[in-house]
Amino acid sequence: MEYILKAHMPGLVARVVVAVGDKVEEGQELAVINCMKTEMICQTAKAGTVKEILVAEWDEMDIDSPMIILEV
């Protein structure tokens, strides 16, 4: 089953801190968004394995933009 990490704030992708194939825990930081001149951590709500990364640094996010797909 897939879980898609979605942007919780609008802004620019500052960085993605995982790679395809990484195993991640619930609550782990997967990426960071820059908004309001603040780095905002994007945490996964589920544990799993990173299947696909849909964003790159500087990509513009709106709220709920898909960012990373996990196999859970």
């Binding site: 704030m9 609008p10 802004g11 820059n34 309001m36 603040t38 513009e60 709220i63």
Partner: protein, 326 residues
């Protein structure tokens, strides 16, 4: 009275009009980003309009009520719930010890919600205001945004007859994704600093709010090169946006750095070396705080000083209207 379970993006104690009188010492006034929603919320719960409330930016937060009281939620609709049941906004509600108050996130329009508590927020005044200056780390609750387990006390107040009072729906502010901000020309304007064509551009072109918009400044999309009347900044610097440092016309200054305009607001700089080409009028400052970063746009509308004063009088009259609360 209210305990933070989850601090979300940013929750601050803010009042209105903030900490006035210290600009000359480099201290911004701080204060509510949407002063209209804060003041209306306070009036709904029987407080003085400028009393401090909780300003919630973005949402994703949760509270536990730790003492019975009366609250009103105003501003952007973040789908607030109490004990997982939807609650109305712009109305005084009784809350009981143990209630869980949750906010989702900002929706289609508006970016900041306010919780106003009958009796007001019990934090010490610092230099005449309860407002948090986030970038100065002073005022409000320990000079910072609220975090998990913080408990915010409310001053004691007789609450009888307050629950159920609500704002007359005709006075609920209209939220949008394209905010018209009325503005008067600033101290560095046409013809010395900006061309006629440049001012026409400023007062006709919707500009997107940057993701780098916060309580200090709402940064906007760039102006074109024909904006500038000068080749350079003279003694102020190499770019035509440069000037010799001077005090900024806070709050609401439209300050241009390079080709990037920013609206200087609550916690913004009080002086600097860049032009201030116009100034958003006091009656429209509230709209800036509801602009969603990286999504909404603003468009400036040129008005006269007389029109700005009239708009301010109309706002004051609205607060005095007999049918404001029902």
């Amino acid at each position: 009275m209210i305990k933070v379970i989850n601090g979300g993006i940013e929750i601050l104690v803010e009042d209105w009009p903030g900490r006035l009188g210290y600009m000359g010492l480099g201290m911004a006034a701080a204060g509510a980003m949407d002063n209209l929603a804060l003041q209306l919320g306070n009036m709904i719960v029987g407080n003085e309009a400028g009393e401090a409330g909780l300003e919630i930016a973005g949402g994703y937060c949760q509270f536990e009520i730790v003492e019975d009281g009366i609250i009103a939620i105003t501003g952007s609709d973040m789908s607030p719930t109490i004990n997982d049941e939807e609650v109305s906004m712009w109305i005084a509600m009784a809350v009981q010890t143990g209630d869980i108050l949750k906010f989702s996130h900002f929706g289609e329009t508006g970016f900041r919600s306010y919780i106003c508590i009958s009796g007001g927020i019990d934090v010490p005044e610092y230099l005449g205001s309860k407002s948090t200056c986030l970038f100065g780390s002073y005022g409000g609750f320990e000079g910072r945004k609220l975090a998990k387990d913080d408990i915010i006390s409310a001053a004691k107040k007789a609450c009888s007859g307050i629950a159920g009072k609500k704002l007359n729906p005709k006075y609920i502010p209209e939220y949008t994704n394209l905010w018209e901000l009325r503005a008067i020309p600033g101290p560095n304007s046409v013809p010395d600093y900006v061309t006629e064509k440049g001012m026409d551009y400023l007062f006709s072109t919707p500009m997107k709010i940057s993701h780098n918009a916060n309580r200090a400044a709402y940064r906007l999309g760039e102006v074109p090169d024909f904006f500038w009347a000068r080749e350079d900044g003279g003694k102020g610097g190499s770019h035509p946006s440069n000037i010799v440092d001077h005090g900024y016309n806070m709050r609401g200054a439209i300050n241009v750095t390079g080709n990037t305009p920013s609206i200087l607001i609550a916690d913004g700089p009080t002086l600097g070396g860049f032009v201030c080409v116009a100034n958003v009028i006091n009656a429209d400052l509230w709209k800036i705080g509801q602009g969603i970063p990286a999504r909404d746009k603003v468009v400036f509308k040129l008005v006269t000083v007389e029109e700005a004063i009239e708009a301010r009088k109309e706002r004051s009259a609205m607060f005095e209207a007999n049918d404001l609360l029902i």
